[in-house]
C-alpha cells in the first residue's frame, strides 16, 4: 500500500505517538498531500515547530526539520528564511504555542510579511499538559483550569492575522480534509506570510471535559460549529458567536521581508559599504 504519503514520512517513526483519533495526523496528511501537489523538492523544504503535541509533526516528515523551544518556532523560522531565502519554510504550531506563548512573534511575523507558511492546529486546548484552557478555548467551554467554564473571550486568529498584515489567511477543519489540503497548498504557494488555521480535535483533553469522549463525537461537533464563509456572512451576530467561518479570507500581494532586505543590501553596497 504505497501512497504519496510514504514518500514524505520517516516510516520508522510510525505508528505515531498521538492519541487515537487525534487531528494532528489528519493535518499532517493534508500538508504532505499539498506539498506533493506542488511537486517540491524535499531537501528544499524546512519544517519548524515549537512545543506541544502538534510539534511532533516535524519528527515524522522527511524534510529538513527543526523542533524548537515553546512558542519560538516563528523566530527560528525567520532566521532560516533570512539566511537562505531559497528554502521553503513551513511552521507548524498548536493554538497555545502560536497564540499564547508565541503570540507576539506571530503578530510581528505577520507585520513583517516574511515569506513563511504558518499552519496552526487549533484544538482549542493545551492537550499535552493536561487540558489547561488556551487563548483559543471558546467562552463557556471547560478545561482543567476552567472547571466551571472559561470566562475569557477567545481570539479569532484569522482576524488577528489579517489585522497584523499577513498576505494569506484561511481556515479549514480536520472534518474537511480535502478543503484543508487545497488551502494549505494555496498558502504554501503564496509569497509573503501565510496563515492557515485548522480546527482540530483533542478527544482526550478537550473532548473528555466537554462531553465528547470519542474522536467521532468531536468530528461531528466540528462539522456542526463550522460554516462556509458565504453562509457565515448571512448569520446574525448572535448566531456568529457559536460558529466558525471556514474558507479563504484574504489573499493579497505585498512585498515580502526577504525581498525588501535584498534591496537594502543592494542600496548599501551602491553607497560603498562592505561588499
Amino acid at each position: 500500500m504505497k501512497t504519496v504519503i510514504n514518500n514524505y514520512i520517516r516510516e520508522g517513526m510510525f505508528p505515531n505517538i498521538w492519541c487515537p483519533g487525534c487531528g494532528n495526523g489528519i493535518v499532517l496528511g493534508a500538508i504532505i498531500r499539498a506539498i506533493d501537489d506542488l511537486n517540491w523538492d524535499k531537501d528544499k523544504i524546512v519544517a519548524v515547530s515549537g512545543i506541544g503535541c502538534s510539534s511532533r509533526i516535524t519528527g515524522y516528515v522527511d524534510f529538513c526539520t527543526m523542533n524548537t523551544t515553546h512558542g519560538r518556532a516563528l523566530p527560528f523560522a525567520t532566521g532560516i528564511k533570512m539566511a537562505n531565502p531559497d528554502l521553503k519554510v513551513i511552521v507548524v504550531m498548536g493554538d497555545g504555542d502560536c497564540s499564547a506563548i508565541g503570540g507576539n512573534h506571530f503578530i510581528h511575523a505577520a507585520r513583517r510579511n516574511i515569506d513563511l507558511t504558518a499552519i496552526i492546529i487549533n484544538n482549542m486546548i493545551y492537550g499535552m499538559t493536561g487540558g489547561q484552557y488556551s487563548p483559543l478555548t471558546p467562552t463557556g467551554k471547560f478545561g482543567s483550569t476552567a472547571p466551571y467554564g472559561n470566562i475569557d473571550q477567545s481570539f479569532d486568529l484569522c482576524e488577528l492575522a489579517i489585522a497584523a498584515g499577513a498576505s494569506y489567511v484561511a481556515r479549514g477543519t480536520v472534518y474537511n480534509p480535502r478543503q484543508s489540503t487545497s488551502l494549505i497548498k494555496n498558502a504554501l504557494d503564496k509569497k509573503g506570510f501565510s496563515v492557515v488555521e485548522i480546527i482540530s480535535d483533542c478527544p482526550v483533553s478537550y473532548g473528555k471535559m466537554n462531553k465528547m469522549k470519542s474522536p467521532v463525537d468531536m468530528l461531528k461537533w466540528i462539522k456542526d460549529i463550522t460554516v462556509s464563509k458565504k453562509v457565515w456572512e448571512g448569520l446574525s451576530p448572535d448566531e456568529k458567536k457559536e460558529k466558525y467561518a471556514i474558507g479563504e479570507f484574504l489573499s493579497k500581494d505585498r512585498p515580502d521581508y526577504t525581498e525588501l532586505y535584498e534591496e537594502i543590501i543592494k542600496k548599501a553596497q551602491e553607497r560603498g559599504g562592505n561588499k
Binding site: M1, T3, P15, P20, G29, P177, S214, L219
Partner: protein
C-alpha cells in the same frame, strides 16, 4: 479464529482497500464517516470493508485517517 495480518488487503474487481493494522488505533473515524457504510468494525474496532462492493472510491477514509492506516486504490479493469 484466524489471526489477522499486519497489512490486510481486500479487493474486488474495481477497488482495493488496504488496512495497515499495526498503525491503526481503532479511533473509528473511517467507519463512522464512510458515506456508503462500506466499513464495519471487527473485534478490535479496526475497519473491515465488509460491504466493499458499495465503495465509490471517494477516499474520505484515507484522507481522514490520522494514522495513514487505510488506503483506497482503484483497480484498472483489464481488457479480456
Amino acid at each position: 479464529m484466524k489471526q489477522k495480518k499486519l497489512l490486510e488487503v481486500y479487493q474486488n474487481n474495481s477497488v482495493k482497500i488496504s488496512v495497515r493494522r499495526e498503525w491503526c488505533k481503532s479511533c473509528g473515524i473511517c467507519i463512522e464517516f464512510c458515506p456508503k457504510d462500506v466499513l464495519v468494525p471487527d473485534d478490535q474496532q479496526k475497519p473491515i470493508p465488509e460491504n466493499i462492493d458499495a465503495c465509490i472510491k471517494c477516499g474520505l477514509c484515507e484522507l481522514r485517517c490520522p494514522d495513514f492506516a487505510i488506503t483506497v486504490e482503484g483497480v484498472e479493469e483489464k481488457d479480456e
